[in-house]
């Protein structure tokens, strides 16, 4: 049997597949981040926390309301989205006229509050969330055992990613949003209700995080800290992809998932750093990111 750098090809395929699965999480999260950044110019530091909230809402629904996975898949993003809209209306909206850095700082504070509150309430060890019955078990692909749930995650997040991309890049909506980022007053003067649109966009962006949270719940522990470290990696993904670029976020998310998967095989110790290394290299060569536009 031939092998690649000492790794049999089957194993390599398996690892690539796993990388793709991880990448689809990155893509979904960085997509939300990119939507919010691209449209509102806000770096949503609370994104990881809202991802966590999404997972928790799913868990709470299951535990206290008997609403299962499929229900949560709809309800949790809506709840997170509404929470996002409230946050946007009451706080973020006051900051648009100021330097963008204040948005970052505000959401940083919000992330601390959300995570701290859940930690205080539910402890840090996390809560179990079962894989829905319909998706239990897996397929033996020969080179690996692929749990059905993971396959579903890839399909679901890619569908959502490309759907979002289409809606934003290929419809008038995207043009409104981009224009509103630049000059909300003028867009308003064209007869478009910008504040509502902006709130909805933020709500949608964080709803994507909430959705990722629900998707993650059965794989990872539903824990208050689940978003904390992830968010930094997702930041790096967005920077590499080019901030605000929707397609960049999706493609980079997937690409880095794969790259990370490979690193886990060949040099696992570096699997967390590899993203940052790539980031540094990309920035040196292309300061605006792979798909970013110099502003």
């Amino acid at each position: 049997m031939f092998s690649l750098l000492g790794v049999p090809p089957q194993v390599l395929f398996g690892q690539l597949l796993l990388g793709l699965i991880n990448g689809s999480f990155y893509a979904l999260l960085s997509l939300g981040l990119a939507v919010i950044f691209g449209m509102l110019n806000v770096i949503n530091f609370a994104h990881g926390a809202l991802y966590m909230v999404g997972a928790f809402v799913a868990w709470l629904l299951l535990t206290y309301a008997g609403v299962g996975y499929w229900g949560a898949l709809v309800v949790a993003p809506v709840v997170v989205g509404l929470l996002g809209i409230v946050l946007e209306k009451t706080m973020l909206s006051r900051l648009y006229k100021l330097d963008h850095l204040y948005g970052l700082l505000l959401t940083f504070g919000l992330a601390l509050i959300l995570e701290g509150a859940f930690r205080h309430q539910y402890g840090v060890s996390g809560q179990p969330y079962p894989i829905p019955a319909a998706l239990q078990g897996g397929q033996n692909l020969g080179f690996m055992f692929l749990p059905n749930y993971r396959a579903w995650v890839v399909v679901a997040s890619l569908t959502v990613c490309f759907g979002t991309w289409f809606a934003i890049e290929r419809t008038k909506l995207g043009a409104y949003l981009r224009a509103a980022t630049e000059n909300p007053t003028l867009v308003q003067a064209f007869g478009i209700n910008v504040p509502v649109m902006v709130s909805l966009t933020y709500g949608f962006g964080v709803a994507l995080a909430g959705l990722a949270g629900v998707l993650a719940a059965p794989i990872y522990q539903v824990s208050p800290l689940m978003g904390t470290n992830l968010i930094i990696i997702v930041f790096a993904v967005v920077v590499i992809g080019g901030m605000g670029s929707i397609l960049g976020a999706i493609i980079t998310g997937l690409g880095l998932g794969l790259l990370e998967g490979l690193t886990k095989v060949f040099y696992p110790e570096a699997s967390n750093i590899v993203v940052f290394v790539v980031m540094a290299i990309v920035l040196l060569i292309k300061p605006a990111g792979l798909f970013g536009r110099e502003r």
Partner: protein, 326 residues
């Protein structure tokens, strides 16, 4: 151009020249208080405040006077703490060389960060520094000399210049105070130097500064390295005070904390970061004995500061003082 002016409005104006006298007076009074403080307050606590105050001042040099928000300053602070702890404990260096090593390493790290990050501004800059510092965190976690989650423990304080036995709390305290004062003085000087003027100009309108013939990247880089070095000095000092270096100081949460200190005290004011550091450290030590969840309280302060209190405490005070000059 609107982008340029956008990304600069974070920084507030420093005190006008008219108030320099007042500032000197305040500084003298504060210094007197600081000299007397260890007889009233707990010296270790005071030293911690001073270390963080220097850290915050160094950070403020960047955000307040160059308009650059670094979200990765923990890398310099915590990284330097490891350096001091290691060279003093394992290599037996004298404390002054330990601190020097910390400063130099932080400066080097700052140079590397700077070369990568300085080409972008605003939030881009913040995110890049954040990611880079995360890399330093993983290195600190994985490199053998840092001893993982145990950290470097039992660092000897040693004898400064072969003369002052730092294991005496008061000697240590006055050493820390001296380091702080020196660092603060350097920042003060920098802000009010020809270099500081150019920095302000760049913050205000970068393309214009370029057209006047300033290679703005270099100025920003120097400011960044300066800030990183001082943050490193603060970190090294902290390692001596607590006789340990641990992962806490390299986490991104620490980077966030220094932002909070500066924001709370007042960005772009000289004394703001000092006040902010004092408050945050006091708060943390107070909260340690209550049942309130610390992150929630800190988060709330963050949100309140950003929403209604952007000038910070010192900034608000300055704004309320009767304006003079002109």
């Amino acid at each position: 151009m609107s982008a340029a002016s956008n990304s600069t409005s974070v920084a507030m104006r420093g005190p006008s020249r008219g108030s320099t006298m007042a500032t000197t007076l305040i500084a003298a009074v504060l210094l007197l208080i600081a000299v007397a403080a260890p007889f009233v307050l707990y010296p270790v606590f005071l030293m911690k405040v001073l270390c963080f105050a220097l850290f915050a001042c160094a950070f403020n040099l960047l955000i307040g006077f160059a308009g650059l928000l670094s979200f990765g300053h923990a890398a310099f602070f915590g990284g330097a703490a490891y350096v001091t702890a290691h060279v003093v404990k394992e290599w037996g260096w004298a404390p002054e060389f330990g601190l020097l090593a910390a400063t130099v390493v932080a400066a080097g790290l700052g140079l590397v960060f700077g070369l990568i990050a300085i080409r972008r501004q605003g939030i881009y800059f913040a995110m890049i520094t954040l990611a880079l510092s995360q890399m330093v965190f993983f290195l600190a976690l994985q490199l053998p000399f840092t001893h993982g989650e145990d950290g470097i423990q039992g660092v000897p304080r040693g004898t400064l210049f072969g003369l002052f036995d730092l294991s005496q709390p008061l000697t240590m305290y006055y050493t820390v105070l001296a380091i702080f004062v020196a660092g603060f003085a350097l920042i003060w000087r920098t802000v009010h130097s020809p270099f500081g003027q150019v920095l302000k100009a760049i913050r205000e309108n970068e393309p214009r500064a370029v057209s006047l013939g300033y290679r703005t990247d270099r100025y920003k880089l120097v400011a960044f390295v300066l800030s990183a070095s001082l943050a490193g000095l603060a970190g090294g000092t902290k390692a001596l005070v607590f006789q340990l270096a641990s992962l806490t100081d390299v986490t991104w949460q620490m980077s966030g904390e220094v932002v909070l200190m500066t924001l709370l005290g007042g960005m772009g004011t000289l004394f703001g970061p000092v006040v902010g550091a004092g408050l945050v450290v006091t708060l943390e030590s107070y909260l340690a004995s209550t049942s309130l969840p610390v992150p929630v309280v800190i988060g709330c302060i963050f949100v309140v500061c950003v929403l209604v209190f952007r000038r910070g405490i010192v900034g608000e005070l300055l704004a309320r003082l009767p304006r003079r000059g002109h």
